[in-house]
């Protein structure tokens, strides 16, 4: 059987994919991506909360972690204040918290279990073992001296998953759904991170310059795993505009919003052409609109008109995009 499917011919039945599998692939990707992002943010917050110079952001760096995830209400039902201990507990081991990493790895594994008929044994085994390691994280593993190693383990688990996926996953439409889920999640994470940090780091609109706390902006870039890439692109300085521009618009940074959107688009496009899945059309149209809005405005205009408003709009669009993909491929009513 040929690996590529001719766009003009009807795909063979063996190329068809159960809707339930498509949905599970989409969510497996999202959960693994989410865990990796969360581990990175927790790690960086710990590192930079202790040696920050200059004014600390309003509410402290740990509160912003809660804000990034829009979890304020649920968080403060459980904890009085957002400090290292409470936030780490909430997001790593938090019992009965669906956004805790231990819960998310459970969801990821459940999806992987559903997918066992079509994923490689290595892929399943790694998630199975990783799940066990994550569930074994104890409060002591979140202490300042051990947190970095714990976050390292989490990131590595997700990256190993990504590597096994790359090396063993069959490149059929299942791959497309995985990639769509992964990059949609990544786009969501980068916009949340930027939205919260940007505003907590900017005491007022024109504070750029004198009060600029480079170490906090470094932290933001590191949380997105983009610090060194940023240095290469902007070796001579750092401003709120260049950082925001980099995270949103850079064409080569794998976590920038444009790259994520391009990935979503590429894979939706392939579903439509190679697999003749015309239901992808509405989602592709929405993506077009999103990309046009970014390219036409440019970062300067976006900042001038209000980054928060822009990111808010992007988030809404991403949500609708996810809903459109679901409606097209697994929540179809017909």
């Amino acid at each position: 059987m040929s690996a590529s499917v001719d766009a003009t011919e009807e795909p063979p039945r063996t190329a068809s994919l159960l809707s339930r599998y498509a949905e599970s692939l989409f969510w497996l990707a999202r959960y693994m991506e989410r865990i990796e992002n969360r581990a990175r943010i927790l790690d960086v917050t710990e590192n930079f909360s202790r040696n920050s110079i200059g004014p600390t952001p309003a509410g402290g760096p740990w509160l912003s972690v809660v804000q990034i995830n829009s979890d304020e209400e649920r968080f403060f039902q459980r904890h009085k204040q957002a400090d290292a201990t409470s936030v780490l507990e909430f997001y790593v081991t938090g019992a009965d918290n669906a956004t805790a990493i231990t819960a998310e790895i459970g969801f990821a594994r459940e999806n992987a279990r559903t997918l066992r008929p079509i994923i490689s044994t290595e892929m399943w085994t790694q998630i199975n073992i990783f799940h066990r390691q994550v569930r074994a994280i104890a409060p002591a593993d979140l202490s300042p001296s051990r947190l970095s190693a714990t976050c390292g383990m989490l990131k590595e688990g997700c990256q190993t998953h990504a590597g096994i996926l790359e090396g063993t996953f069959f490149r059929d439409q299942g791959w497309m759904f995985y990639q769509i889920g992964k990059h949609l999640e990544r786009a969501d994470q980068i916009t949340r991170l930027l939205d919260i940090k940007y505003h907590t780091l900017l005491p007022s609109v024109d504070a750029v310059g004198s009060q600029f706390d480079v170490s906090q902006w470094n932290a933001l870039l590191r949380a997105a795993s983009g610090y060194h890439a940023f240095r290469r692109v902007f070796p001579s300085g750092m401003s709120a505009a260049t950082v925001a521009g980099f995270l949103l618009m850079n064409n080569a940074f794998p976590r920038s919003l444009v790259v994520c959107l391009r990935q979503v688009e590429t894979h939706l496009q392939q579903l439509r052409t190679a697999y003749n899945l015309r239901a992808a059309a509405p989602a592709l149209e929405r993506l077009d609109g999103l990309r046009d809005a970014m390219v036409e405005q440019g970062i300067a205009n976006i900042l001038a008109r209000g980054l928060h408003e822009f990111l808010d709009w992007v988030q809404q669009e991403l949500l609708l995009l996810g809903a459109e993909v679901a409606a097209a491929f697994w929540h179809r009513t017909a």
Partner: protein
Amino acid sequence: MAGYAAPGLFCELTTPRGDSDEALALIARRFDAMSLDELRRRAKVAEDDMYDLGITFTVYSEREAIDRILPFDPIPRVIARREWQQIERGMIQRVTALNLFLHDIYHDQKILRDGVIPRALVEGNPNFRREMMGFDVPCGTYIHICGIDLVRDETGRFLVLEDNARTPSGVSYVVENRNMMRRVFADVMDDIKLRSVDQYGMRLQQALCEVAPAGVQDPSVVLLSPGIYNSAYFEHVFLAREMGVPLVEGTDLTVEDGRVWMRTTAGLAPVHSIYRRLDDDFLDPAVFRADSGIGVRGLIDVWRAGQVSIANAVGTGVADDKAVYAYMPRIIRYYLDEDEVLPNVPTHICGEPDGLAHTLANLEQLVVKPVGESGGYGLLIGPHASRAELDEFRAKLQAKPANYISQPVVKLSVCPTLGEEGVGARHVDLRPFAITGRRTWVLPGGLTRVALKRGSLVVNSSQGGGSKDTWVLE
């Protein structure tokens, strides 16, 4: 294996059989040469691997899902070449007779009219499905997948203990145990010629294509599972992967325009042949249990219209009932005019006056089994029972004699097995698997279950049983 002995019992590794004895001795020597520590170390590696690979069944407590493995014993059970030939012939004979029996009782009922089996026993059986009357299944095959439990007595004779004609499970362990042995005991297996167990998935897929509705080119086969929370989900995954077909749940399927379809990203795709791993009762809420949320509404109508095939067929449970089991030698003779290749364990039917009298008079020497139940529950092992237990059981027996059969206690064969004190003799049974489309094929080997508790005769996984790899010598 120092000090290993199994006096008065047949040992599956050390008792010579006048066939393949050299290979048997070589295998025994290789295990003998291994220190107990090394054997334990490797057994641990194997069990850890099973957790990691998810070769597990899930047990649900109130709060959590706990993954358990079927305990794996590293010392294999070995079947000589000629022994296997007999088992294979016996399996084919029995499956053939069972299929003919089912066809008959769901059509002309000659065997009932000829008085070979009491009509009430068949028609009064809860697994007798009137919906099946007059319906022709493709190839005349009702039992596409059959697992038959065999035991071996102290003389080395194989006896049939039980037929499993509904959805027999355990075949995944046959294959995975072999994979495990290849990884962990490559040195012990070196140069020993074993029959392969790798063909099961292909053969099953082939059989399901053979029985697909007439006229369908390149039929679409699926495995229907109750879902990821089912304790046998691993086996469902294993089978779907080995066959290369989608594992579907009831919600993935729908009936429209008199056909069965699955929901895919491209819309509805046709389904022609279904290997279902759920009981009759749950298959179709429109026909059987109305509260089934895991079945497919309308499935049975499509099946009866010949537009989809279901394996195993509905209504096979009547054939593997313990009461019908007692008549199997007569059933084989009736349809095939042959003596049985694999005899039954001598069985007394308590519903018959002679059988009841014999059972009551010899209760402390007999195993008494309730009919229509499985899993080793509710049975009495006379020699192991206390006086009070015997009295209690005698009362139950007298109240409803037709609910029971009795058999002498078979001194089950043993196999060297790793236990806490070292390597000791433990009782085993054997469940070979047969696949039938147009013809019957038997997987060389089978699931060897082992009672890990010393002296125990109960090999069921729900009651402390484990499993071993089963080697059929070339």
